[in-house]
């Protein structure tokens, strides 16, 4: 028997859900709106919502003053670079754990996850020292490597849960037909694994993009991504709401859109397949 739902009940729940949804989204909406205002309108009391003279001035000023494009490029390079590097290292490892499990596979996976729990601050100084000695402080190369390392356990876990869903019988059938290990990986596994790899890539780009400990503590100018670009607006002299909003909007827009598209994968990926 289908649950009888009265229209009245549906209206109440719809209204409630929309009110809460809009309240949660409001800070983002307000930031986007403010980015199109003049500085005077931005702090007007009572606040102005839609009826103001929309301007693109803030975006122009932010780009000119703080060279947004350079930070954006750094963010893209760090997020994409660290994710791809991570994938290259993680795919073989996840593949072997999923298809040739040994007695200790579960322990190794748990150990990998536990490295994620080491507080970064505990090892900040040694890492800084190593980078300084290697002349790599404030370099993209070093940060790509570090971001890759902090996300590697998550990448391996995600790929592992995806790979495990590929039925082993298919591999056996391929082997019976005389496929070598190389054929097996190239022509059988890869096509089936591509959706899993794609969502892993997507999620880790989001995580790397928003990472704000190493990117804040290990960069100054050259390698600084958008997290640092925004943090520079926290000093009092940089406090202009409309420009802050424009800068914020530019920093979050790419990843917000990417995130909305990958919300389904987010659940599986970030829970290591424990919730489907």
């Amino acid at each position: 028997m289908a649950r009888a739902v009265t229209t009245q009940r549906k209206i109440v729940f719809t209204a409630l859900a929309w009110i809460i949804g809009l309240a949660i989204f409001f800070p983002i909406l307000w930031t986007i709106l403010t980015s199109f205002k003049t500085e005077a309108t931005a702090i007007a009391d009572p606040p102005v919502f839609f009826n103001f003279d929309w301007t693109l001035e803030n975006y122009r000023v932010v780009q000119e003053r703080s060279d947004y494009m350079r930070y954006l490029w750094n963010s893209v390079a760090l997020a994409v670079g660290s994710t791809l590097l991570g994938i290259i290292i993680a795919v073989p490892a996840a593949w072997s754990m999923a298809f040739v499990p040994a007695k200790r596979t579960k322990d190794i996976l748990m150990w990998m996850l536990s490295t994620k729990m080491l507080p970064a601050v505990g090892v900040l100084y040694p890492i800084r020292l190593i980078l300084i000695n290697m002349g790599l402080l404030d370099s993209k190369t070093a940060l790509i490597f570090i971001l890759m390392m902090i996300n590697l356990p998550i990448i391996i876990w995600m790929l592992y849960t995806y790979f495990r869903e590929i039925p082993g019988e298919i591999l056996e059938a391929a082997r019976m037909d005389g496929a070598t290990l190389k054929d097996e990986i190239l022509y059988v596994l890869t096509p089936m694994a591509i959706p899993g790899i794609a969502s892993t890539v997507l999620l880790n780009i989001i995580l790397a993009w928003n990472e704000a400990f190493w990117t804040l503590t290990l960069t100054t100018v050259n390698a600084a991504p958008l997290t640092a670009f925004i943090a520079s607006y926290s000093s009092p002299e940089g406090l202009f709401y409309a420009k802050l909003s424009a800068a914020s909007t530019m920093a979050i827009a790419p990843i917000l859109i990417l995130g909305w598209f990958s919300q389904k994968q987010l659940v599986r990926g970030l829970t290591f397949g424990a919730v489907k």
């Binding site: 649950r3 970064a120 601050v121 100084y125 390392m149 993009w209 928003n210 926290s234």
Partner: protein, 288 residues
Amino acid sequence: MATQHSRSAARLMMTPAVFLLLVWMLVPLIMTLWFSTLDYRPMRGTFDCCEGLANYTRFITSSAFLDSVITTLQLLGGVLLITIVGGILLAILLDQPIWGQGIVRILVIAPFFVMPTVSALVWKNMFMNPVNGLFAHLFKGLGLEPIDWLSQAPMFSIILIVSWQWLPFATLILLTAIQSLDSEQLEAAEMDGAGPLSRFGYITLPHLARSITVVVLIQTIFLLSIFAEIYVTTGGAFGTRTLTYLVYQRVIESQNVGLGSAGGIYAVILANLVALVLMRVVGKNLDA
């Protein structure tokens, strides 16, 4: 069946990942352990050996230590409580038949994708600023005295900001779990005369147990090392200094590496204590 050949190939393929993680974990940790036994203050050029456990004693006996542990646990507990209770309620609401469910869902999960520095700055300036913030406007509109949120209610404010960032995550995962609940069970219980509360307590909540564990585990991993939200809002002032932030201040701001490293080791121990408990529970859950 896996052959001997594929077994050794598999081991070979795992090597780079295992090796890198091992190095990444051990080298800085051993260096930190070593530094923690030194009187090491780079700005003054001190690098004296063999302090023994002096740094550890000094770090743990300073009044800042206990406060920072309490602050860390307050932040963790506050955010977990808000996000899980809020997440369950929101998930139940979004599971109801409503118009525009997809759009509401997109609105609700949006904060998760906002980078921590942006959300901290937007909240700090545009909402919590005592003069120009929206809350101040709202309070004045109601005839109340505006509050300087970050100095008068600093922990509450930071918990609010961090909860805003993590509520979407909890909601999304709990919603996915609720949607996998067999609705016939609920109907059967309703026919047997179970009220909404007992239906929730005896059917929905047990069904969610596993997802709640997962949410707690993952959020804890990220919350213990929260940094940007404090760095941008209060800079550790007004009693918002977590253990992570205290160590950061010792090492980077006051350049006392020996003392800070001892603090770092305490942070590692705290994280491991929490992790140990969580791994037991979640490890069991993931096996099933």
